[in-house]
Structure formats: C-alpha cells, structure tokens
Symmetry: C2
C-alpha cells in the first residue's frame, strides 16, 4: 500500500504525498509571502509548521528557513536539510500521524485551499542561464535557419551550449505577457520595426540551484546533483523575428528578455528519483569533466496547449518528454562552472526547448509549423505563431503506481503591444 | 575661482569636490559596509553624515538610503534625490562651510583615509548586459574572425547589439582572477581542454541603472538619461579560445562568465556633464525609437596598463576614450527596454570594448596583437595574451580646468588555473 495522506488527494492530482513540491504563496492579497508545499487541493503553510515547532530534525529544526519570503535560505542549506524536511513533512501529512490530522485549529491555520492563494516566484533568481540540450531541437533549428547540410554545429556534441538569460523578466505562471516590439530583418533597406510577428513559446524545464560554488572552484559532474534542488516547467517566450535579426554575433537578447514564465511548484529531485531513466548514449564520448558515473534523465511527460481568445478549451499542440535531453542536468551544471563561474542558491538553469524525435513532439511553434510554413490547427482555427489573446499552458507529470508526481501548470496569455 | 574643499585635494587627484563619486566601503575588516563618497585621499562616510542629520533636503533628509549596505535604494530614488545629495555634499565639503570643517570629532568619524578602507561592490546587480557599441572594435573583431570583406554585420548599424552577461561573477577592483579552464577549438578530432591560452582584458565602461521601468513599458530614448546614475570602469575579462569555440549560435558564455571587474567609484552623470561631447553622426539614421534630440558622449580618457609578475611598473598598452562610442549610453538603455524588458536599480550596462580608430587605441589584446600575431612589448618582454601573474589596470579621467574628474583604478591580477 502506497504512502497516503489524511488530506484527500484525487488520483489525478499532481500533488500527492509522494510529491510535496515547494512554492511561495500569499494566503491573501495583502498577506506576506511565505513558503508552502502543495498537497492535493491545499497548500501547507511552512511558516506555520515551523513556528509550531513541528520541524524537529537537527538541521531544519534549528533554522528559520521557512520564516522567509522566499526559498533561497532553504535552497542554500543543501540535500541533508532537504531530506530532513521531506521526511518531516511526509510524516506530518501521512494518514497515520495524528499531530496535524487531529488538531483542528492547527490544521485550519496550516492548510490553505489552493484556490484561495496567490503564488509568487519561489526564489530570488540571481542569474538565469538557458541551455540548448535537445538534439532534435538543435537539428530542427539548424535545418530551418542554415539548411539541411550542417544542421548542427561542430561544437554541439562536445559541450552543452547555453546563453545568459534575463533574470528581471522572469514571471510566475498566470502573469499576462505583452507582445514585444522590436526590430526584425529588413525587407527593403530599413529593418522592420513594430510588434513581433513571430511570437513563440518554448517548452522547457529548469533546474533550481541549491548550494552554490565559490568563484574559481568548478563543481565536479559527479557531485553536481547535490547542487540541484528541483525542477520547474519554464516557457521561454521567444520573438523569432527579433531574435533572427539581432543574434549574430552575440546571441539572443531582446528576442527573449521580454518575459519567461515559470510554474510555481518546485518538484524536488528526491520526489523525481523514482522516475529517473538512462540518458541517451553520447557519441562522441564527452570530455572527462563531463563524463558521469551515472548519467540520468527523468521520465516527465510534457504537453503544451493553446487556448485562443474566446475559446473554451485549450488545444494540445505538442507532447514531449524531458527524457529526450541529450545533455543531462548535471552535465549542464558542471559545464557551467568549469571556467570557475560561481552559481548561487536560487539560480535557474533552463534546459532549452525540449523537442522529441517526432513532429508531434517538437517543443515550439518555430519547429511545429516549420517557421510558420505549416500552421497547426487549433479547434477550428490555425496558428503559424502566437496571436494576441492566445493563452499558452504547459503541464508536466510523472506517472507513478496509482499516483502522479506533477508540476501543475505554467501558463501565460498574450496581450497586444501597447500603441 | 573653482569650487574648493577644506579637504586637501592634489591637482592630480581623481576625486576633487567637483567629482564626489559614490562607493561602498568597510572602514575596517569586520565593519559593516556602508556608502561613501571619495574626496581627495579620504572617503566621506555617508552613514555618519546621514545619522548626524546633515542631509537636510526634502528627499534625502527623510530617507535612510545611506544607512544601507549598498546603494540600490539611493539609485532607485532618481535624479531629484541625486541632485539634492550632491548639492548637500558639495556644500558640506566646501572650504567655506564650517559644519564639518570646524567639528573635529565629527570630521574624525566622517572622513576615513582611503588607504585604510576596503572597497566593496557598490550595489546588488540584478542583471548585467554588455553592449558592442564601438564601431572600431566591431570592425576589428569582424576582420579577425570573418575576414575583411564584411567585417561588420548588416544589423550592427541599426541596433546596439548586446548580450546578457553573468552577474554573479562581477567583482570589485583588486580581486585576483583565476585563469579559466575550458574547451577550445579542436586541432585534431577532439576539442582542446585546459587552461585558456588566450586570456584577454576588455577596456569598457558601464552605466549603472537608477530607477527601473515596469515590465512591458519601454523607456523613451529622450528620458533614458534619467535612468542612469553614473559610470564605472569595467574590465570584461575574456577567454578568446573558449569564446571562439562556444559562441555559435547563442553567443559568449563561459568565455566571459569567469569574472568581470568593476572600479569601485561610481562617477555620476551630474559630475560628468561638463565633459559631455557630441556623439558621432549615425549613418544610416537610427530608427525613431533610437533617434535622440541630443545625442551625447563623454570625453573620458582611458588607459590600460599591464604589470607582469616581478616587474615594478605597469606598462601602458593602449589609450582610448569613451567618446569613440558609436551608440550612446541612452540609446543602449532605450534599445534594451524597447521589447518591454524591465531594468532594476543597480543593473549594469557595459558599453562593450572601447576601441579608438588608431592601433594604439584598441581596447583589448585580441585587437592590439591581432589575435596574438603581433605581440605588444612590455618593458623588456612581450605579450600576445595575458600570462599568469599579469596585473591589468584600467584608469580613466576627464580633464577639467585645474582639476580632474577621475574614476580611480579598475585592476585585477591573473592567478594560474587550479590543477
Ligand atoms: Ca530557450
Ligand atoms: Ca565585452
Ligand atoms: Mg524568455
Ligand atoms: Mg566578463
Ligand atoms: Ni542576471
């Protein structure tokens, strides 16, 4: 019999007791932000749990890590603290443990209905980097932009390519996005200027960094997992026309920096461990600093829906899976630090667009519509790129035995450019 | 007769009463960081000035902006606060004002000898972006990497190109730098891996953002100056071999993120105003969102010296000037936000390498030595790229009538890679 909570959890819920993802929420509009974990249709307020002295382990019991407006302090404490907190919370929420179950007034304070809370960014993000770790995505982009001769650059199979992203414009799921304006490639003598005409989503996940490393001290690839707290879903909104015009020679800038959306719940690596699977074999073999003793991905089903303005339902436009990544999360992190670059708790490492091998599993409209040439159908209409009013929702989950470990939703709606 | 301070200031000093640049310092190793301004060979402790109630204007007088460990709060207050603080401080330090001059115990507390303090990063940097605004630099790099046919890309004259940089590895002048390790282009079948063999400096300046803008709300180019507090000197250390191998298609990453050094004193735009000069004429004319009513640069002489290990003196390897920039600081900032990207107080906008037209004014070794082919001489030795033990120092100043408005030094020494 699987572990069960006294809190009722529907078998389709993303948040059974096996998950316990971390987020930051406000119980009411003017209340202070505080950490919580999701359980069924409720959020367990960790500031209440900590204030009540229910974290009784040797590390978290002595800390004020959940009396903070973000998770950064807890992130920095590392895996021993994370394991201890998880064990405390699984016990506290289990069907056989009376402490919270049988204390009505504490339960009332500690368990807040999820539909009543406002979710916030769970951490202060010092730096955000975005990788390019799906071979199918790299190949498709190369095909579209450079032709089929050499779709993938010579460096791609030797290193997990990445760029520095913009931390300030990272927003939480549910935040509307204004269509960016900018320059795009000229048709005549002068560049196009105006609202982007090739607005896209990118289906990604992102790792959240726990303990960082000192400047000048690389992290060993076999210890990299200890620096990753967990994962979120990420939509790296992209303006393909702005990006196409600006990106040579210094990479994407304004084509990306107008917004990036995160799902609110961080699913921990500990909760994902039952869904670990072998990463693809790498050929050529990676250089020693990227060669892992155990090279693993996670089997996380992902799907993207678009709901046009006025429509009732979201139409699924693609289904992919994190397991398609060529470069693993731990290789990404080790590569990021090999030059001595320091990571800090709360830093965000995006995987890059997660495309699978089949056309139905491509991770962005650029690939799905082959740069707008083959529009996708959406419940009676079609899309080359995103239109104003479109709401894009990415969801993801792992399938356990009788339960799901899920991420909830990462969604955002496009508002028209300001005049 | 020019304005004078009761604090003795040598005519060669970078810090006369006309300057009053802001920094953050510790008066002793275990003391708390606090804001200060430089005056001659002293630092005026602004926490002491504020605690003593000597900021008596309507904005700063009511604030605790200098009782903070960084300048972010003051930066966010904007130009009216900056003008008020400058006016208060120029009066307080002037030779004719008795308040501080004649109060020995207050003076003792408030004025700390500069050689006794430890300088810190003056602000928390949320995001750092680095531009590519010198035409001479763009042309030289294009020539070296792509050949003389089309040294400058088609987009360069239409937009100030930039990339997102790494905020975590920005350090204050005087911090040693460990030579980065990484991958470089293959000679045989496998990439080179090891300590960078093409370590370089980049002579840059950087603007520090004052008040930010809301996500989705671009800043008008004619109002952009109100979002810039001041400038620092920046050395954007670069590993040319790592950069060359990784940068296609997403731009520089590990070739840059191992460290970036800032000079400690932020010279305000108000102090630089007497040294404003016309920016170069732009042809083709910029798009309307980049067209400024007044397009100005600043006449700031810059020079870079290298001191090899064991040498007594630094040898000047280049002399350049901020006035060579093609894209102005205000165009950079307006462009950065045109897609709705939000800036926050304390953000850093690097200018890109500041090369002048003549070979003696190129802003990095890549250009000065033409990718290592023509080594520069250094006091009996030569350099293609930087060697372990080299100390690079960048300085800059404006020449006033009988005084200098200077930036102090931005320096760092290369330590060998760890084994
Ligand atoms: Ca991406
Ligand atoms: Ca640079
Ligand atoms: Mg984005
Ligand atoms: Mg750098
Ligand atoms: Ni950043």
């Amino acid at each position: 019999m699987a572990l069960q909570s006294f809190v009722e959890v529907h078998p389709d819920s993303h948040f059974p007791i096996q998950n316990l993802p971390y987020g930051v929420f406000r119980p009411g509009p003017s209340a202070e932000a505080r950490p919580g974990v999701a359980i069924g249709d409720y959020v367990l307020d960790l500031s209440v749990v900590q204030s009540a002295g229910l974290f009784d382990g040797p590390i978290v019991g002595k800390s004020d890590c959940f009396l903070q407006p973000n998770l950064n302090k807890f992130l920095g404490m590392g895996r021993p603290a994370w394991k201890e907190a998880r064990s405390t919370l699984q016990k506290l929420l289990s069907s056989t443990e009376p402490t919270l179950r049988d204390n009505a007034s504490l339960r009332e304070k500690a368990l807040v209905p999820m539909n009543k809370v406002e979710m916030c960014l769970p951490m202060v993000i010092g730096d955000y980097s975005d990788f390019f770790s799906s071979m199918h995505h790299a190949k498709n982009c190369g095909n579209i932009f450079r032709g089929p001769e050499t779709p993938i650059g010579a460096n791609w199979f030797h290193l997990p390519i990445a760029y520095h992203g913009r931390a300030s414009s990272i927003v939480i799921s549910g935040t509307d996005l204004i269509r960016p304006k900018g320059q795009a490639p000229p048709t005549g003598s002068s560049p196009y200027f105006g609202p982007s005409r090739k607005l896209d989503f990118e289906l990604e996940m992102a790792a959240i960094v726990g303990p960082g490393n000192e400047l000048g001290k690389p992290v060993d690839v076999n210890e990299a997992a200890d620096h990753i707290f967990g994962l979120v879903i990420m939509n790296d909104w992209s303006a393909r026309d702005i990006q196409a015009w600006e990106y040579v020679p210094l990479g994407p800038f304004l084509g990306k920096s107008f917004g990036t959306t995160l799902s609110p719940w961080i699913v921990t690596l500990d909760a994902l461990e039952p869904f670990a699977c072998d990463a693809p074999k790498q050929d050529p073999p990676p250089l020693p600093y990227l060669a892992e003793k155990i090279s693993k991905n996670y089997d996380i089903s992902l799907e993207v829906g678009i709901k046009p303005a006025g429509h009732k339902n979201s139409c699924i436009v693609t289904r992919s899976n994190l397991k398609h990544l060529y470069w693993t999360l731990t290789q990404q992190l080790a590569h990021h630090t090999i030059n001595g670059c320091n990571l800090r708790p709360g830093d965000l490492l995006g995987t890059g667009t997660i495309s699978g091998p089949e056309p139905e599993s491509f991770g962005c409209l650029l690939e799905l519509t082959w740069n707008g040439q083959k529009p996708v159908s959406l419940d009676g209409t079609t899309r080359g790129f995103l239109e104003d009013g479109d709401e894009v929702t990415i969801t993801g989950h792992c399938k356990g035995n009788g339960y799901k470990v899920g991420f909830g939703a990462c969604s955002g709606k496009i508002l028209p450019s300001s005049p």
